[in-house]
């Protein structure tokens, strides 16, 4: 497996975009591409070639689940963990996200200090199996 460097963050809320960027760039030392919509993610995924994708679940337009489905048709996601970010934490919903092929779920609100290590954990778990 390669190294975790490039993270694509798909999120419509500018407030979350900004804090996640700092959390991942400054705390985690990653390279981050922020996409404001599912469509933007689809447009840019091939050029950016992310190692990890963070997807907001509830977005206007193409939502997180649908974005994942379409991403899968564009790129091979075997080695690219996809984590959903959501405020809804019902166990059956988490199970549903897993069934869509998500590696894990990150719960909002998240701690900016811990986001990078959460992402790193998901990355190593994904490549461990």
């Amino acid at each position: 497996m390669g190294e975790l460097k490039r993270i694509m963050h798909v999120e419509d809320d500018p407030s979350i975009q900004a804090v996640a960027r700092v959390a991942l760039e400054v705390v985690g030392g990653f390279e981050v591409l922020t996409c404001t919509s599912g469509q933007e993610a689809l447009d840019k995924v091939q050029a950016f070639a992310p190692d990890f994708i963070l997807l907001d679940v509830m977005m206007p337009g193409i939502d997180g689940a649908e974005t994942l489905e379409r991403l899968r048709k564009l790129v091979d996601l075997t080695d690219i963990p996809v984590a959903f970010m959501t405020a809804k934490v019902q166990p059956e919903e988490v199970a549903y996200y897993h069934s869509l092929g998500a590696s894990d779920v990150i719960i909002k609100p998240f701690s900016p200090m811990q986001l990078a290590s959460q992402v790193r954990n998901i990355w190593s778990k994904h490549h461990d199996r």
Binding site: D13, S15, I16, V19, P109, P112
Partner: protein
């Protein structure tokens, strides 16, 4: 711990928080305006509601991340309220007005002082698993510090040692721990709130105090410093571990599930709002005739029942609920305006556990529900849990083995079953007494609980015998995990008076990969355990049939 990167980070985060507050200054009034315009919006009401929901959803997600937890929670419950309105077939003006009114309670939070910014920005989530639990220990005595670190690391906690208060303070600013442990002999002036420099949110980080003196005055001092636990020296490590464990187990309790049955929609919406704000899961049922499917789906722990429903009086409904044996553990509390003592008495005699009289204050409502459910949970726990260790009892773990084995077969997965027995336990009891023996059992129970996953089941099978079910693990994986625990457990120093001693255990592991009957899985694990014992104890053996 505050280096250049830390400073840069703090600066950037501060800027972001300022921007966020500026955003709130526009967004909150805009949302309030939107909500206020709903009642007269006519055909476009639904669209506006959906817009409101989406924007509340955003705020609910972002506010907490920026450290404004209360605002985040308020937005969340308003989002849920909006969500509920959207599921209704007809939007009545009353609800819309209610929502608009509730929206008025939102306000822009005060900007925070720069120095406490980073600590505000780390609202610690409740640790999912023990390995995520970060402990800061303030201990200037090297030897003591080392043994604290060793023991707690063995139990799966993440430990950071500090020798002086200033460093601890800086570390707390950068990342809040899940708990603080402080040697009071060397740091008698320490104060939790000051250490976390966050008066309000600091209550969520427990402080455990270690001290040589355990007289009343010292304990009082510890209490005023904000301590949640007090341990006298020499520190009994398993007692310390127990306090931590109890604390975190209490924290991870699932939310209470409350069902409200009331034909007054306005009132039940209000109750639901109050209880949800207190972190409970609430459902409202207006039609008593439909109660049974709701009970089966939602599994409430308490029902708040209106007495005066024209079609089906509350007491009758309570009686109907009590027809079902499997629903006996649900607490039923009447809510009613009836102040007539006779009628209340009559209602209680039919069925039901308690009465609250309308109008019900917010706090009364929360307290009543809280106390009832907590009591019900304690009871339910004590019936299926071993009283010493809090582990699943013999009968229940056996059932769990069969259930999980069958589930594994159904889904074509492998589940491991482990039998584990403390070596020469009788000697411990005979030499050091039963209390010490119990302490050894509890310590092993806690260690298993911490080191295994949430999906694993741990049962106390007999006196010093444990049975474990580990879904989706091959016997190899399970044996590896158990063997690591065996090594670490053998290193633990137990204390009995002046003496210290160590204890070992043996374990037998099997899994469901070979076609043995569910009922025989435990027997195979037991044979593997026997093999481990005869091979000289203090080891783990795998046997597949």
């Amino acid at each position: 711990m505050i280096d250049e990167r830390g400073a840069e980070l703090q600066q950037q985060l501060q800027l972001l928080v300022e921007q966020f507050i500026a955003h709130l200054r526009n967004e909150i009034p805009a949302l309030q305006h939107l909500a206020a315009s709903l009642p007269g919006a006519g055909a476009s009401t639904r669209e506006a509601l959906a817009d409101l929901r989406q924007r509340l959803h955003r705020l609910a997600g972002s506010a907490g991340t920026y450290g404004f937890e209360q605002l985040g929670q308020d937005c969340r419950s308003l989002e849920q309220q909006t969500d509920q309105l959207l599921t209704l077939d007809s939007l009545e003006q009353g609800y819309l007005q209610q929502l608009a009114q509730a929206m008025h309670a939102l306000s822009v939070p005060q900007p925070t002082a720069p120095q406490s910014l980073t600590s505000l920005l780390t609202p610690e989530p409740v640790p999912e698993q023990q390995e995520d639990t970060l402990l800061y220990i303030l201990e200037s005595e090297q030897e003591m510090a080392d043994s604290l670190q060793n023991t707690l690391t063995n139990f799966g906690y993440r430990v950071q040692l500090f020798a002086d208060e200033e460093r601890l303070h800086q570390a707390c600013l950068l990342q809040r721990p899940h708990a603080l442990i402080v040697d009071f002999d060397h740091h008698p002036q320490l104060n939790k709130a000051a250490m976390l420099s966050n008066g309000q949110a600091s209550t969520s980080v427990p402080l455990f105090v270690l001290a040589s003196q355990d007289d009343f005055t010292t304990q009082l001092k510890a209490a005023s410093a904000g301590a949640s636990g007090f341990l006298s020296k020499p520190v009994n490590f398993s007692a310390l571990e127990n306090s931590l464990e109890r604390y975190f187990r209490r924290q991870t309790d699932e939310p209470y599930r409350v069902l409200i049955i009331d034909d007054d929609r306005e009132l039940s919406t209000r109750y639901a709002l109050i209880l949800r704000a207190a972190g409970m899961m609430v459902e409202v049922q207006e039609n008593p005739a439909e109660i049974y499917p709701t009970l089966m789906r939602f599994h409430p722990e308490i029902i708040l029942l209106d007495v005066n429903m024209p079609e089906c009086p509350g007491p009758y409904l309570a009686q109907i609920i009590r027809f079902h044996d499997e629903l006996l553990q649900i607490a039923i509390v009447y809510v009613s305006g009836v102040v007539d003592a006779h009628r209340q008495m009559d209602a209680l005699l039919r069925a039901g556990d308690d009465f609250i009289t309308k109008p019900v204050g917010d706090q009364t409502l929360i307290t009543t529900v809280f106390a009832r459910v907590r009591r019900a949970r304690t009871l339910a726990n004590s019936l299926s849990r071993d009283s010493l260790t809090g582990l699943i009892t013999h009968a229940n773990i056996k059932e769990q083995v069969v259930l999980e084995t069958e589930r594994a077969r159904r889904f074509n997965k492998v589940t491991s079953v482990v039998m584990l027995d403390i070596d020469h336990f009788k000697r411990v009891n005979d030499t050091y007494g039963h209390l010490t023996g119990d302490n050894v059992i509890c310590t092993l129970a806690n260690m298993l609980r911490q080191r295994l996953r949430k999906i694993d089941s741990i049962g106390r099978y007999g006196g010093e015998e444990f049975a474990l079910v580990m879904p989706q693990s091959t016997s190899e994986d399970a044996a590896r995990v158990i063997d690591q625990i065996r090594e670490d457990f053998a290193k633990l120093q137990f204390q009995a008076g002046e003496e210290t001693f160590t204890v070992t255990f043996s374990a037998g592991v099997t899994d469901t990969s070979s076609p043995i009957e569910s009922k025989q899985v435990l027997e195979v694990a037991d044979r593997a355990l026997y093999a481990a014992k005869t091979a000289g104890r203090n080891q783990v053996k795998v046997q597949l049939q």
